[in-house]
């Protein structure tokens, strides 16, 4: 376990929070987080950093990252991430993305395929698949979402989310410092994913441009993204394989860091 250090990175939209640690590997590994804004203190990243240089930028609106006012849609998100790669001098990197981060990784890889050496998409959103809708994440009771995000109801975040329901009638009872980051993260997610709902209608047709060998990971207990999405990614990306993860749900990298690290390192090489 190699810890990551927190840095600030200046970008065109403002200063963003970046976590960086480890060294080595065939290319720097960039982790793109989900709508949960995971990254700081994440076990998966610390395991990967044992053998790899790991970089985890927080998207505008998450953590202390500024600049959400300059992001209106997924197009802006892609260009912001290109800017991040440029400012980190990452000519070519490995991308690992979870859910929203998986979508953003794919948007980078279709536009600038030469910047991506290999890629892992875990439970990615980003596509519209008829008959297989992505579960609503906005405006839901945290306790309901907890069951869809986590396989183990006793996982600490799942327990916390269930506890939040008690404050539904009077949210003023929750310390606002706990609420603020959640509100900001949700606003950031809404900016890129409210409508079209968590997808870009153009993405599927562009996936043929991805040159990076890509691993799609689908968690069998994912209550947010149906497996059909992973299947479309697999068939549309020229060099892609699909792996299922047992006993894991949408936030598999949080709940099953060891297994996900193994899959990632097997695919990317260490």
């Amino acid at each position: 376990m190699t810890s990551l250090e927190r840095h600030a990175l200046d970008t065109a939209v403002g200063s963003i929070e970046l976590h960086r640690g480890g060294a080595g590997g065939p290319a720097p590994l960039v982790y793109l987080h989900s709508a949960q804004g995971e990254g700081p203190g994440m076990v998966l990243l610390e395991e990967l950093a044992d053998t790899r240089l790991v970089l985890s930028p927080l998207f505008p609106g998450f953590g202390d990252s500024e600049g959400l006012q300059y992001i209106d849609d997924i197009e802006d998100a892609a260009f912001h991430l290109l800017d991040v790669l440029d400012r980190l001098d990452l000519v070519c990197c490995d991308l690992v993305g979870l859910s929203l981060g998986g979508w953003m990784a794919a948007e980078l890889a279709v536009r600038w395929p030469e910047r991506v050496r290999r890629m892992v998409l875990v439970n990615p959103v980003g596509l519209y698949v008829p008959g297989a809708p992505i579960t609503e994440i906005f405006g839901r009771a945290p306790s309901e979402l907890a069951d869809e995000l986590f396989a183990d109801p006793n996982y600490p975040i799942a327990q916390l989310m269930r506890a939040m329901d008690a404050f539904e009638a009077d949210p003023s009872q929750i310390p606002f410092e706990l609420v603020r980051p959640i509100l900001q993260a949700q606003a950031a997610t809404a900016k890129v994913g409210w409508n079209p709902y968590l997808h870009n209608p153009k993405l599927q047709g562009r996936l043929r441009r991805v040159t990076a060998p890509t691993l799609i990971v689908h968690a069998r207990k994912d209550g947010i993204v149906p497996r059909a999405h992973a299947e479309v990614y697999e068939s549309a990306i020229p060099d892609a394989t699909l792996t299922d993860l047992d006993d894991a749900a949408h936030l598999a990298p949080l709940e099953r860091p060891g297994e996900v690290a193994k899959l990632v390192l097997e695919h990317l090489g260490d």
Binding site: G139, D170, A190, W194
Partner: protein, 393 residues
């Protein structure tokens, strides 16, 4: 003091076994179109009756896909009122600007209503309720900037000669040239309803518009909200005029206090327990973080949390009683809040037509004249141009 009769046009017939939200996903199979037709006509009659009784104005508003208020197009109702009335101000409170694309539609329809009514429109502009952003799949994270841009566009339509080109972030229009233009110059009076978002208060203060406090909170919430508005006006370098402040509150008058509560209470609870659930959903990015912090302080006093009639009375969630009780409580609150516009919700929830009319009559004959004497002032001049008489029916 100006007196308005405000109608939400609620749906009073949700089945007893339906316990879901009244908003967004409330199944529209529950809407009976024939009953809907009767309700629209009855509710329009109740608004027209307010003119006969001497009110200064009537108010309608916009909500979508819900049982709380079945008035997705307040402009349709306002245009009917423009024709059926001849004196009252017609306040559309308001059009949810971000829902109109392009928002020149609002400038056009409001100008039509102003023309038809002979210059009696009050043009309300609103960001739209949280549920609307689900019902329209409209990005709530863009709500405030779309509202601001749409507002600027509409004002420009009314005050600058067309055709002109408008190139904003959300609206890009090459030929803006509204026919008709409003009778009221430079434009109709503008009202902005709100629940205490700081951006809205600052916006109202900056433009010297009027702010309408939305009900269903403890009276102390209104007090804080209006104090914040006064402060915002002072920051703009002026003192707020009472006519810039409006208080919207359910009112019911009967012969005695006991009779009033007996006739009213069940209808109030239908409204609170059946029609409010779902109204308070706040989609992501809809309100700035600093405003959420401010609004959340009030969340515990939201009417959905009411348990007893005592709490209703203590918090002044509704003003219910004999003419003397209602007058006394309204006078105390008007004084306390410093408002120059009273917006009464005289029909609420399942309250039947006969009770609504009786309450309106008692209010108009025994409460309103005394309040007018206590709180003089306010523009009651009505139409700037007489409305042509309606064709005989």
């Amino acid at each position: 003091m100006r007196f308005f009769s405000f109608h939400l046009m609620p749906y009073p017939d949700l089945p007893p076994d339906y316990d879901g939200p009244a908003w967004i996903t409330c199944p529209n199979e529950l809407f009976d179109p024939r009953l809907g037709g009767e309700l629209y006509n009855r509710y329009i009659d109740e608004l027209v009756y307010a003119e006969e009784l001497g009110f200064d104005g009537v108010c309608v508003n916009e909500h979508h896909q819900n049982a709380y208020g079945i008035m997705p197009s307040p402009n349709l109702i306002a245009s009917i009122l423009a024709r059926l009335t001849s004196r009252v101000r017609i306040a559309v409170v308001g059009n949810a600007l971000p829902l109109y694309d392009p928002p020149t539609r609002v400038a056009e329809e409001f100008a039509m209503i102003d023309c038809i009514s002979g210059g009696r429109l009050i043009a309300g502009m609103v960001v739209g309720g949280g549920p609307e952003y689900y019902s329209f799949s409209l990005n709530p994270a863009h709500a405030r900037e779309r509202f601001a841009e749409a507002h600027d566009l509409i004002l420009k339509v009314w005050t600058e000669p067309g055709p002109f080109e408008f190139t904003g972030k959300h609206y890009k229009l090459r030929y803006v040239n509204s026919w008709p233009r409003p009778i009221q110059q430079p434009h109709p009076e503008i009202w902005i309803p709100g629940v205490g978002s700081l951006e809205t208060l600052e916006f109202v203060a900056k433009h010297r518009y009027a702010y309408m406090g939305i009900p269903y909170f403890h009276i102390s919430v209104f007090e804080r909200m209006f104090a914040m508005l006064r402060e915002a006006c002072q920051k703009e370098g002026y003192e707020a005029d009472p006519l810039q402040l409006g208080w919207l509150v359910p009112i019911f008058v009967a012969e005695t206090d006991a009779e009033a509560r007996r006739r009213y209470e069940e209808h109030f609870w239908y409204f609170v327990r059946r029609l409010l659930p779902g109204i308070n959903i706040s989609p992501p990015g809809y309100t700035s973080v600093r405003s959420v912090e401010n609004i959340m302080k009030n969340a515990g006093t939201f009417a959905l949390n009411l348990d007893s009639w005592d709490e209703v009375v203590r918090g002044q969630y509704a003003i219910v009683g004999s003419p003397e009780t209602v007058r006394e409580q309204l006078a105390a609150n008007i004084e306390r809040l410093g408002v120059g516009n009273l917006l009464g919700l005289f029909q609420l929830g399942t309250l039947p037509a006969a009770d609504t009319r009786h309450s309106l009559e008692l209010f108009a004959s025994e409460v309103m004249p005394k309040l007018r004497a206590s709180f003089p002032g306010g523009d009651t001049s009505g139409a700037s141009v007489p409305t042509p008489a309606a064709a005989p029916s």
